[in-house]
């Protein structure tokens, strides 16, 4: 065997055994029948997939898409001007970029817990508002869709800012200057020139936010409480409390497939190919 093959071997073995094989197993499980005490039994069936079409589960699917979509839209709206600012910041570019990235690299759990601490009934916001006598009883800020959205946007905003910045950075400044020279006001230059030519960056960033939002588990669990169930929570529930592995496997595969399709689109489409 050649040197190169030896170097690739450990990664190939590890990824085959502990990434591909587990997926193959849940792929098989999703077509089996639920066992009486958890686990799986024969016969083969497509019942788990049929159950996903049940209105109860369609609602969860719809809700996950909706929350992930809205979080992505907010990240785009918030992240674009931030990336634009950083790309025009001259010498301080790197400093600002580090400031965006630092909270992103700190613990995900801690970042989510911070919002729990701020939003709960005896949290920072409610304490301040009641101390100022603005409210009498605490506002229900936690355990709802709004809290989940906030948590997701907070966690994944840097996922959008980074590729967006990379795109804007590479933009030829002469384009915007030409538009300005021809008499376009700044907002018009932005709308008709900068945004259209940076569309690949917007799409890449949006997909990078949408994928983890769609599969989110920790954020809806901690900030949404039991009320805001998304696909990730459904999967976790089927593998733990509900002990319906075939159904949990089917839901996992749907989630996995959605993420994989988005990844393939992003890495093969001409416009966004080189951005990852």
């Amino acid at each position: 065997m050649k040197l190169r093959s030896w170097f690739l071997l450990p990664a190939r073995v590890w990824m085959a055994l502990f990434f591909a094989a587990p997926l193959a197993i849940i792929g098989a499980y999703s077509f089996l029948t639920r066992g009486d005490y958890g686990g799986v039994e024969y016969p083969w069936t497509i019942e788990s997939y049929a159950r996903l079409a049940d209105p109860l589960y369609l609602a969860i699917l719809w809700r996950s898409l909706w929350i992930a979509g809205l979080s992505t839209a907010i990240c785009v709206a918030m992240g674009f001007p931030l990336a634009l600012f950083i790309s025009r910041a001259g010498k301080r570019k790197n400093l600002y970029l580090q400031l965006v990235l630092l909270p992103f690299w700190t613990s995900f759990l801690v970042r989510t817990y911070a919002w729990l601490f701020i939003l709960r009934d005896t949290g920072l916001i409610n304490t301040i508002l009641s101390a100022l006598h603005i409210i009498k009883s605490p506002l229900p800020l936690l355990y709802n869709d709004g809290a989940v959205l906030l948590g997701l946007v907070y966690s994944f905003l840097p996922f959008f800012v980074l590729p967006m910045y990379a795109t804007l950075e590479r933009l030829d400044p002469a384009l915007a200057e030409a538009a300005a020279d021809l008499g376009a006001p700044p907002w018009r230059t932005l709308w008709r020139v900068v945004i259209p030519v940076s569309k690949p960056g917007i799409i890449a960033g949006a997909v990078l936010v949408f994928i983890p939002c769609l599969g989110a588990y920790l954020t809806p669990d901690l900030l949404g409480g039991g009320k805001s169930v998304m696909l990730g929570n459904l999967v976790q529930n089927q593998f733990t409390t509900a002990r319906d592995w075939p159904f949990g496997s089917a839901a996992s595969l749907v989630l996995m497939l959605a993420s994989a399709i988005l990844l393939v689109l992003l890495t093969t489409r001409r416009e966004t190919k080189g951005l990852l």
Binding site: A11, R12, W14, L82, V110, Y113, I118, Y154, G232, L276
Partner: protein
């Protein structure tokens, strides 16, 4: 005018990103239990440091993170080098896919694999299953960081070494590896952080005797808020911050 508006917005956005963490840290020094400032105190830090559950979780997390990041760094670096020689499409695609696979899916699929294997092997979930899982999701991070560095490396260096009589192994260890070492160490630090931080996958594949620090924190956070969690969070923020800044420095070298 327009430029100033953008600047103000950017400042607000950066405040949004940092304020929650700052608030968390500030209140970790609060004397009282509630979110009302009652004076400076290190009480919650000493409570955190003397909590036996946290101590056990920390020990488990440290062992897991060190073992997993060393393994992932070796495997990921080797893979990056192999791909640098000639691309390995399937492996690379698989690694990218592992990065976008929702954590919960990775977690339940590994759980399914382990439970299936336990039917033939008389084993049960423990620290080693957590380590296996962490290595599996860290390899891709390491590969990406090291590959980026290799792309900037001059291929003729290795050829020159081989022309001078070094074998391919010797050329790798004496020429290429020293050239990418900063990136390898940076990748190891990143792997350490990702492993130390993981909750979702870990909670699914950990055994009763291998609760990690994030699992203990999570349980505490769900039970209600204790300022002890703030203190632990602040310590984690400082630790992670230091590791990441160090990794960035190394990567830029």
């Amino acid at each position: 005018m327009k430029k100033r508006a953008l600047g103000i917005y950017a400042a607000l956005a950066l405040v949004f990103l940092h304020l929650p963490l700052a608030v968390l840290v500030v209140f970790s020094f609060n004397q009282g239990r509630f979110t009302v400032w009652e004076g400076l105190s290190l009480h919650w830090y000493s409570a955190a440091l003397s909590d036996p559950q946290l101590a056990e979780g920390l020990l488990n997390s440290v062992i897991i993170a060190i073992v997993a990041s060393v393994l992932a760094t070796v495997i990921g670096t080797m893979a990056a080098y192999g791909m640098w020689k000639r691309s390995a499409r399937v492996l690379e695609g698989g690694m990218l896919l592992s990065l976008v696979t929702p954590e919960i899916v990775t977690g339940v699929s590994l759980l399914a694999l382990f439970q299936w294997a336990f039917r033939f092997l008389h084993l049960h979930l423990g620290m080693y299953t957590v380590i296996i899982a962490h290595v599996a999701f860290s390899i891709a991070y390491v590969m990406i960081v090291v590959s980026a560095r290799l792309r900037g490396l001059d291929r003729s260096l290795e050829e020159a070494a081989m022309d001078l009589g070094a074998g391919p192994w010797r050329a790798f260890f004496r020429v290429t590896l020293p050239g990418i070492l900063p990136a390898v160490i940076a990748a190891a630090l990143l792997a350490l952080v990702v492993s130390f931080d993981d909750y979702v996958i870990t909670s699914l594949v950990a055994g009763v005797d291998s609760e990690t620090l994030p699992m203990v924190i999570y349980a505490m956070a769900r039970r209600g808020v204790s300022p002890i969690v703030n203190a632990v969070s602040a310590l984690i923020l400082v630790l992670f911050g230091a590791l990441i800044v160090l990794a960035e420095r190394l990567r830029e070298q």
